[in-house]
Amino acid sequence: MRIVVNRSLCDGNGMCAREAPKLFAVDEHDALHVLKENLDEKDREPAERAVKACPKAALRIVE
């Protein structure tokens, strides 16, 4: 299971980093960094929250 970011959609709103700070971070230029490429089962819930919270619908989980 991993996170796929549509980079051209991402505006750097940072909602994912707020919902799942262990999986995402936004740097001082508001650029998004995925902190963990391959997710464990315990990451599923925060990852799903991040996907839902993204106002650009730029994130998805691929099994």
Partner: protein, 414 residues
């Protein structure tokens, strides 16, 4: 009792009658026909929160604002697509909002930098200075217009700052937007063509000034578009093409935040116990109240897309060439999402909103708008201990897509 049994759903959704008082219409849609097809416009109207949420998340150029996100009713009535229409032109580059992927995203990324959260946070002191400056001029008058004199002048000054337009022109730019955004009942909706032509008279000189200054990136709203090279033909954009990409920031920056600010202050004033609760700790409570103010007062009524593929969404099959209309304000008043949605409750829990749209076109200026509204509300309430809105002098504009107060006179009592 005949009048009450007659369905609003049989009337023209764009009639002045429904547009000037849309909430009962939205409720009837949500309850009786959550996805309603209007043949005359070849459009499906989505009115429930969950359905709008789903429609706006559809990507991959299935729904594109090819016919603009705000087509006029007259246009919709007289243009019927036979299958998917051609995508908007990229040579010349059409106005940003009508473009498909990847051009839409390329144009957006070329000018979004000053609107990202941390760039906006850096403007906090500047915005606070503008707001305090306005209050220094306005408060001694004891009566002024909360929207035109206070909020809109501030928003216009911020827009001018971003464009590198002298702040002394803020009043003139504001008048231009206000004049052309007025509802034209004969045409229905806003005539986007003349709107663009008028606004570009202010935008094009700002672009030319950046070219002359070398477009070195120090104005990140404009310079990225000047330095942009199209792919694959590798050409630069003309002044006019760049201006077309920036109209949205200019109008959006001046239209919505002032209406939300003015009505937000009025809704608090109408409920003295809520106003007192917010006043108890302005620093902590204003940011909370802003969330409800945005849900309750956001003026954008709808956004359109045209289907470029056959899509089934929210249980509805939409054929290529047909249109979908997402009723954003109806979604904010959906009782399936919000408890007592027509009540203003400053600290209600709000899990998610559609007031800024969602997906590809999600409001590019959201963070700036929220900073402005927050600062305007906070400073007004901290400097004014007692005030009265002159409701009988207030003016509401039944504009099709941006509904809200355009004038709210306020009397300062203390």
């Amino acid at each position: 009792m005949n009048a009450s049994t007659e369905s609003l759903l049989d009337r023209d959704p764009f009639s002045i009658e429904l547009m000037s008082n849309p909430l009962p219409f939205y409720k009837e849609l949500r309850d009786k026909a959550p996805v309603k097809y209007y043949k005359e416009y070849d459009t499906y109207f989505f009115s429930r929160f969950e359905d709008v949420w789903e429609v706006l998340r559809v990507g991959d150029n299935a729904f594109v604002a090819t016919e603009t996100n705000l087509p006029t009713p007259q246009y919709l009535r007289t243009h019927r697509n036979n299958g998917a229409p051609p995508f908007a032109s990229t040579r010349p580059m059409a106005a940003g909002p009508s473009l498909p992927s990847p051009y839409y995203e390329e144009m957006r990324l070329a000018h979004i930098a000053p609107l990202r959260p941390k760039s906006v946070a850096a403007l906090q002191e500047f915005v606070l200075g503008l707001v305090r400056g306005r209050l220094r001029v306005l408060l001694p008058r004891r009566k002024f217009d909360l929207i035109a004199d206070y909020a809109a002048m501030t928003a216009s000054s911020v827009v001018c700052f971003l464009f590198g337009i002298p702040l002394s022109q803020a009043g003139e730019v504001l008048r231009c937007v206000g004049e052309i955004a007025k509802y034209d009942p004969l045409k229905g909706g806003v005539d986007l063509r003349s709107f663009f032509i008028e606004l570009k008279k202010h935008i094009v000189p700002a672009i030319q000034a950046r070219r002359e200054a070398g477009a070195d990136g120090s104005n990140s709203l404009i310079d990225g578009l000047i330095n942009y090279q199209t792919n694959p033909d590798d050409r630069s954009l003309s002044d006019n093409e760049i201006a077309d990409q920036l109209v949205c920031v200019m109008v959006g920056g001046m239209e919505s935040a002032p209406k939300v600010t003015g009505q937000g202050i009025m809704e608090l004033w109408r409920r003295p116990e809520q106003l007192a609760a917010v006043r108890a700790d302005l620093d902590n409570n204003v940011p909370i109240a802003i969330e409800e103010i945005v849900r309750y007062c956001a003026p954008a009524q709808y956004t359109f897309r045209t289907a470029h593929k056959d899509v089934t969404v929210a249980g509805q099959a939409v054929k290529a060439g047909q249109r979908v209309a997402c009723l954003l304000h109806s979604a904010s008043r959906d009782e399936r999402e919000f408890k007592e949605p027509d009540s203003f409750i400053w600290n209600r829990p709000i899990e998610r909103v559609l007031s800024f749209g969602l997906g590809q076109h999600h409001c590019i200026g959201k963070h700036l708008a929220k900073l402005e509204v927050r600062t305007l509300v906070h400073e007004f309430l901290s400097q004014v201990t007692s005030f009265e809105i002159v409701e009988e002098e207030a003016v509401r504009n039944p504009s099709c897509f941006q509904r809200g107060w355009i004038s709210l006179p306020v009397i300062i009592k203390g």
